[in-house]
């Protein structure tokens, strides 16, 4: 009797994730870290495929060549023929492929900065950066065998990762640690910083091997957050003949800044292919401090300031606020665990990959830049005016692609939760990133315990504004359908409602101090007993503010707004869409609080909308 060839499911996990995708000062660090992790995972997947493994994650037909469009997540799953000995050999081979890919990046960076690097320190650090864990299990026979094996291998891998073994490491006295995460010592000799394009160290900033690789390996440039933040201004300028001239005039001076090493040229923004700091006068001082040719840069800065001073104040670039979007699929684990066979699982993997490609397109169409899209995850920077439409399209595209993966239990298909965090481009990137991830968490879970109870968790949109010098303002609701323009505001999904308010702010129909006046009202009504009297007083009071002279609403708009005030401050919930805990009116001062938060966030988006349409006319 011939011996039957066994087949196994092999699962790998590659890291370090945190170090690659979270430790960052410049957007370049963040973007390249994610890119590098994907490339290393891709190399591992390729090694498996070359050894005749059938890939499940990443998708089986994806292009696994280095620098291909395909983004590969750091967990890889494949079916392989063979027993324990073959699996062990294959996992070793795959590890080697992953480590070699990392070392190729390291070599690139090393060559660029060789003169200033302490070689022994570099070599020692490079040796144990990559984390690699593997587990496999035999796929039995019969019904449910694949499903059982998939769960078993995932649990085995989790068990392996319970022991995060590491080698001892003895550093050197007197050497500063990496400014990004402090995990290793600086690789620069005597604190000397090499003059390499794109390195752009702050005074005293130290980088370890991983930090340096993220900063200088590869050739691609990545737009900085400041460029994303000034994008509405650039688009607005292109709208007007007079200001198109401004952009043209700025060009030679921006080129001078590039030459002086003060800014980088960025890809994607043809009308203004430079970092936004060039036109942000408040950033010129620190930009000069970071650059090599101070004299040349100084002259260019002066010229830029002169050109911008000729514009009306409202036509100049604003303080650089932008949106960081973090999206993640809901109930993905459940969807995967219900898949019974490998072919369907591979199809699921391809669908996710399709979404990742689609997401990149959507973000680009909205003048944003993707830091990462892989599977059901998206991390992107977006201008203020396009972040909501972009979130909407991502959400709808995800729903459409995954609509066939309904759970057997509740007949619900996976959905996409999106968190948007609006912040200042000069805020510490690590903080901005943490804020974005928090927003995503709120989008998923809702605020407080209410969502879980009301079953309105997941499928959420959360928008958080963290302006400098004040606390965070949050709104969150579940996604609703796209609605026509005329639908009652209370029945409109949060994204469209915010955009409606934003347009009113941008058109000057509502004054900017408005949300703050509403807040004062909150204080007045706090402590009142809930009931009809309070309800009537609040409704009338808010409507009174909306009828003031400095509010320029058409009759139709006023009617729409007042109906919304009645609904939002109604004290009982009659409208079926208003089931989320944030929208349920409580019939007291907190309702006004919520309205003012909504308006405050819309106002920030309105700043972008106004700049993009070229200011007031």
């Amino acid at each position: 009797m011939s011996q039957e060839v066994k087949s196994c499911l092999l699962q790998l996990s590659i890291g370090p994730v945190q170090e690659f995708i979270a430790a960052a000062r410049r957007t370049r660090d963040l973007w390249f870290g994610s890119f590098m992790l994907s490339e290393i995972s891709k190399a591992a997947a390729k090694a498996l495929k070359d050894a005749k493994a059938e890939l499940i994650f990443p998708e089986p037909d994806g292009d696994l060549n280095p620098k291909s469009e395909l983004n590969v997540a750091n967990v890889i799953l494949a079916r392989v023929h063979g027993g324990h000995a073959e699996m062990r050999a294959l996992s070793d081979k795959t590890r080697t492929a992953a480590v070699e890919r990392f070392k190729a990046f390291a070599d690139e960076a090393y060559k660029k900065a060789e003169r200033c690097i302490v070689k022994e320190r570099w070599d020692k650090q490079i040796e144990d950066v990559i984390e690699f864990y593997a587990a496999w299990t035999e796929i039995g026979t019969g019904e449910g065998a694949y499903k059982a094996a998939r769960q078993r291998v995932a649990r085995l891998l989790a068990a392996r990762k319970n022991l995060r073994d590491f080698l001892p490491y003895e550093g050197e006295f007197g050497v500063p640690k990496s400014s990004l995460d402090g995990l290793r010592e600086s690789v620069f000799r005597d604190g000397k910083v090499p003059a390499i394009a794109g390195l752009r160290l702050k005074e005293g900033e130290a980088l370890d091997s991983v930090g340096l690789i993220k900063r200088v390996a590869g050739d691609e440039r990545f737009p900085s957050v400041s460029r994303v933040a000034v994008d509405p201004w650039v688009r607005g300028a292109r709208e007007e003949t007079l200001r198109v001239e401004t952009l043209r005039e700025l060009t030679p001076h921006c080129e001078a800044l590039v030459k002086a090493g003060a800014i980088s040229r960025v890809r994607g923004g043809e009308a203004f292919p430079y970092e936004g700091t060039a036109v942000l006068l408040s950033r010129h001082a620190s930009m000069l401090a970071e650059c090599g040719d101070k004299e040349g840069a100084n002259a260019a800065c002066k010229a830029i300031a002169e050109i911008l001073s000729r514009l009306r104040p409202q036509d100049r670039p604003l303080e650089p606020y932008f949106a960081l979007l973090v999206a993640d699929g809901d109930r993905m684990g459940a969807a995967i665990s219900e898949i019974g066979d490998m072919e369907r699982h591979q199809k699921f993997s391809s669908t996710l990959s399709k979404f990742a490609g689609k997401a990149r397109e959507i973000v680009q169409e909205h003048s944003g830049v993707c830091v990462y899209t892989g599977g059901d995850d998206v991390l992107a920077f977006l201008p203020l005016d396009t972040c909501l439409p972009c979130a909407r399209e991502l959400h709808d595209a995800f729903g459409e692609l995954l609509k066939d993966y309904k759970s057997i239990k509740d007949q619900r298909a996976p959905t996409l939760s999106v968190g948007i965090s609006i912040g200042h481009a000069m805020e510490d990137l690590e903080d901005l990133l943490a804020f974005g991830r928090e927003a995503e968490k709120v989008a998923k879970k809702g605020v407080g315990e209410g969502s879980l109870k009301a079953k309105t968790d997941r499928n959420g949109l959360a928008v958080v504004v963290r302006s400098r010098g004040s606390g965070a303002v949050v709104v969150r609701e579940q996604w609703g359908d796209r609605a026509e323009e005329t639908r009652a505001l209370a029945k409109v999904s949060l994204d469209e409602r915010l955009h409606y308010w934003a347009r009113l702010f941008a058109d000057g129909a509502i004054p900017n101090k408005f949300p703050y006046e509403l807040r004062e009202n909150v204080e007045f009504y706090r402590g009142w007993e809930a009931g009809d009297v309070l309800k009537a007083a609040m409704q009338d009071d808010i409507k009174r503010i909306f009828r003031r002279k400095d509010v320029n609403l058409s009759d139709k708009e006023r009617n729409r707004v007042e109906t919304y005030i009645d609904a939002a401050l109604c004290g009982s919930c009659q409208i079926d869409r208003l089931q989320n805990e944030l929208v349920i009116s409580r019939g007291d001062a907190r309702d006004i609080d919520r309205l003012s938060d909504e308006l405050l966030i819309a106002q920030w988006i309105g700043f972008g909308v106004r700049q993009a349409k070229g200011g007031d006319r």
Partner: protein, 390 residues
């Protein structure tokens, strides 16, 4: 032995290893808890202030153990990583916990381990359906710890953890004020994050009161005793102050609870209460390969053991700034095994008295032990590799 309690007078900055200075980013970050060596340095400095002829070598012989939170007359320890919390009943605070234990070998597990003789650890009685574990509080009370460690059986357990969250992080933004104008200097802005030791009612709790979290420390002064029983020490970044008061009755916090006054059977569990430094990275230097196994003698006990499995968190960097005369600068970086990590041993000979091993350092270097690293708590387990994934 003398026992002290430290009360931070303002939020403490437990700096991570990232540099900070002019132009190096505008952020001073804080770890979740204070490193043992920071406390050791503070206490030794207090001794030196009483007697400034002592040399660094003499001061380093003073043994400073701890940095454990004390709140409402209870001492707390870092949560053990071998507990997987399925669910916590909100009303009663009772947690449904699965024990993470060494796995049964079966016909080969399909998991390459750092050493051939080791097995991975997985939760026992894992339900068929996957679930998202709940995050426990960062610290467990001594009582909960005693219950957790004292149980030899590996089944799932329902118990109150009575946990304590790590101090809340508080951000402060600082500016440089120009003396001549009284205005803030342009671009001279920096933010510090500190640990606030004032405990507030938890989120969602309608009632509650403010209370003070303190830091418990045990000191063996050896030849160089400290006269004062009450003094102020600067602790951590920015030289924030902590009031230090000697307390005679803290003894009970530092002894193994009566329930753990037992002799282990075959299974012995070591839980790190403070981060540890080992000569072999994650693996204690006192374990050696012998006949294909990792075996050794637990420091200072004579109990010989074999390592079966371990649950170890990701390494953490240890750094700091040396103020030693002639040796001023950033210290060399080392890698620590995080607190809460658990090692599963099989006792090869005799049995270990848990109480005699309690809160002694298991680090390979005696100096690391004197600096407060690697203090271990000890408990039982069945000694049978029985966890399964299916």
């Amino acid at each position: 032995m003398r026992y002290f309690r430290l009360t931070p007078l303002s939020p403490l900055i437990a700096r991570d290893s990232r540099p900070f200075g002019a132009g190096q980013g505008n952020r001073v970050r804080s770890m979740d808890w204070i490193s043992p060596s920071v406390i050791a340095g503070a206490v030794r400095t207090a001794v030196w202030k009483e007697k400034d002829t002592l040399t660094p070598e003499q001061l380093k012989t003073i043994e400073v153990h701890g940095a454990f939170p004390i709140a409402d007359e209870q001492i707390y320890f870092p949560r053990p990583l071998d507990a997987l919390i399925r669910k916590v009943e909100k009303e009663t605070g009772i947690a449904d916990i699965l024990r993470i234990r060494p796995m049964a070998r079966g016909e080969g597990l399909g998991v390459p381990m750092p050493h051939e003789s080791l097995v991975p650890s997985a939760p026992v009685e894992m339900p068929e359906e996957d679930f998202k574990p709940e995050r426990s509080d960062d610290f467990w009370s001594l009582e909960a710890m005693a219950k957790w460690l004292g149980c030899e059986e590996d089944q799932r357990v329902l118990m109150r953890i009575d946990g304590l969250p790590a101090p809340v992080k508080e951000d402060r933004t600082n500016v440089t004020i120009l003396p001549e104008s009284g205005a803030a200097e342009d671009t001279k802005l920096f933010t510090t994050t500190g640990l606030d030791f004032v405990r507030r009612p938890r989120d969602g709790e309608s009632k509650g009161r403010l209370s003070q979290m303190r830091i418990g420390v045990r000191v063996n002064f050896g030849d160089y005793t400290l006269l004062a029983g009450r003094f102020l020490v600067p602790l951590g970044g920015e030289r924030r102050l902590a009031e230090t008061v000697e307390s005679g009755d803290q003894d009970k916090f530092w002894k193994a609870p009566d329930a753990l006054n037992v002799r282990s059977g075959k299974g012995l569990r070591m839980v790190l209460a403070t981060p540890a430094l080992f000569a072999k990275g994650w693996l204690p230097g006192w374990l050696r390969e012998e006949h294909g196994n990792l075996t050794g003698t637990i420091p200072g006990s004579g109990v010989s053991v074999r390592l079966v499995s371990a649950v170890v968190g990701r390494w953490k960097p240890l750094s700091g700034w040396s103020y030693e005369r002639g040796r001023n600068g950033p210290k060399a970086l080392r890698r620590m095994v995080p607190a809460g990590s658990v090692y599963f041993f099989e006792v090869l000979e005799g049995g270990a008295e848990l109480s005699t091993l309690w809160l002694r350092s298991v680090c390979d270097s005696a100096q690391d032990g004197r600096d407060g690293f690697g203090l271990a708590l000890w408990g039982l387990w069945s000694g049978r590799e029985s966890a399964r994934c299916f």
